[in-house]
Amino acid sequence: MEVITDNLDLWGEALTGTLVLFFGGGLLALLLGFIVGAMRVSPIPVARAVGAVYVNWIRNTPLTLVMFFFAFCLPILLRERIDAILLATLALGVYTATYVAETLRSGINTVPVGQAEAARALGLTFGQVMTLVVLPQATRSVIPPMMSVFIALLKNTTVAAGFSVLNLGSVRAWLSERGENQLVTLLWVMVIFVVLVLLLAWLQRAMERKWKVAR
């Protein structure tokens, strides 16, 4: 326990780093994932193809490699020094967006076509079909898998440790310079992650129960 109480400042910074990566990356992933997901289900063949290529390529690229491109290659191309945590957040967002897009797409696919056809037969406009019939149903089936995507994102924030970002994954390196026991530090990091993941999983279950679709 002394490893934590003696170095509260560092642990605080590390936790902040992880949370910034998580929420920043999550927000970016939602924005980008929404756009790509919309492209994937759009009636425009070009947009569908672009979305498919993006999703398939990025999903088959290791996150470490994506972060490698952002952390090392982007600053060379821009000829500028960029904050490491910003680059890591971008990489996490771009990577996670593919999973968000796929979750949205499969969520929309769970709505039976008859629902939309019936709505159109009633004379509802596109906007009404979406907001009154399709999206309410799709949202419900999307929320549990979307939470799983975010749990995966939380664990993925540790990868930023390899690219000089202070977070829970890299707090070991900083603490070992202060002469702390690395084994104990890492065991505490594990405990923190298990607790955080369980917290998100609990939230997921609560939402699942609340939003369950009766079909």
Binding site: P43, N60, I76, V113, V159, G162, F193, V197, L198
Partner: protein, 309 residues
């Protein structure tokens, strides 16, 4: 074609879709053009940046890196499959003193980030006098994580089977072990094959984490070669070439998963056409989403609950 989102397009919609298609093309071209412009502006196209790839020895090192990646992947894949079986069988046990601890172990292993586990093995264990090569840290961490995920996949496969399957097994006088080995597991594995292979893609991708704990796999070689000032530090160039090798390997394995999935679907359709009862363990959703759900739903802490009826 009509879908949930849009009707068959009329003349207006066709015109609008064309315009939107053009806009998409313009945006993509602009993005590609920007990258090419930045490449040109920072001299990435100059010959000395690419010269490194004219040497056979450099390609040999990239190849060595790829082999190191594949070696770690192969060992981790075999280990994860074995561990997955053991944990799945343990969690399906009738004895609570086996089922509950195995359940907790599976959940905890799934909740720990792979990289943190690797660090624990590589940086943490030397504190108590256990030293290991980066290779073993990578392999053991990957086995622990992917094994626990595969255990859940296999268990989900077994539990999604119709109850009549095991009842019929018991009825002809098989014991628990026989029912599991001869009736439940073969069907579960067949049904879950696409998800299992997809999880192996995750394993292959995660070998890249070895880069962070100095395991000399492909990404490590890329960084090493790319920082070499003798070849005017061609970091972007090596990342593009080496990264393509990585992505090609993962895409190839993903394609295998895709083919297996297609084959399973076809077989189910055949069965349905022949009047049999098609068996949909995953439902119509994409396997990836299911996979993430299995990986991350670490909070379903019900290690003690008996298999549902």
């Amino acid at each position: 074609m009509t879908s949930v989102l849009y009707d068959v397009p009329g003349p207006k919609a066709i015109a609008r879709n064309r315009i939107l298609g053009l806009v998409t093309i313009v945006v993509i071209l602009a993005a590609v053009g920007w990258v090419i412009w930045r490449f040109a502006a920072t001299g990435q196209f100059s010959a000395d940046k690419w010269e490194i790839f004219t040497y056979g020895a450099i390609w040999q090192r990239l190849l060595d890196g790829a082999v190191a990646t594949l070696t770690a992947f192969a060992a981790a894949a075999v280990g994860a499959l074995v561990l997955g079986f053991v944990l799945a069988v343990g969690r399906l046990s009738d004895r609570a003193w086996i089922r509950v601890p195995v359940g907790w172990l599976t959940e905890i292993l799934r909740a720990i980030p792979v990289l943190v586990f690797m660090m624990l093995l590589y940086y943490g264990l030397p504190v108590i006098g256990v030293r290991m090569e980066p290779y073993w840290a990578v392999v053991i961490a990957l086995v622990a994580y992917n094994g626990s995920v595969l255990a859940e996949v296999i268990r989900a496969g077994v539990e999604s089977l119709p109850r009549g399957q095991s009842e019929a097994g018991y009825a002809i006088g098989l014991r628990k072990a026989g029912v599991l080995r001869l009736i439940l597991l073969p069907q579960a594995i067949r049904a879950m094959m696409p998800v299992i292979v997809a999880q192996l893609v995750v394993t292959l991708k995660d070998t890249a984490l070895g880069f962070i704990i100095t395991y000399p796999e492909l990404l490590y070689v890329i960084k090493l070669l790319g920082s070499n000032a003798v070849y005017s530090s061609p970091l972007i160039q090596t990342a593009i070439i080496g990264g393509s090798i990585y992505v090609a390997m993962c895409l190839a394995l993903s394609y295998v998963a895709y083919r297996i999935e297609q084959r399973t679907k076809r077989r189910q359709q055949q069965q349905a056409a022949e009047g049999g009862t098609p068996h949909h363990p995953m439902g119509p959703g994409g396997t990836d989403t299911e996979l993430i759900a299995l990986q991350a739903r670490a909070g379903k802490l019900d290690p003690g609950s008996a298999p549902p009826a």
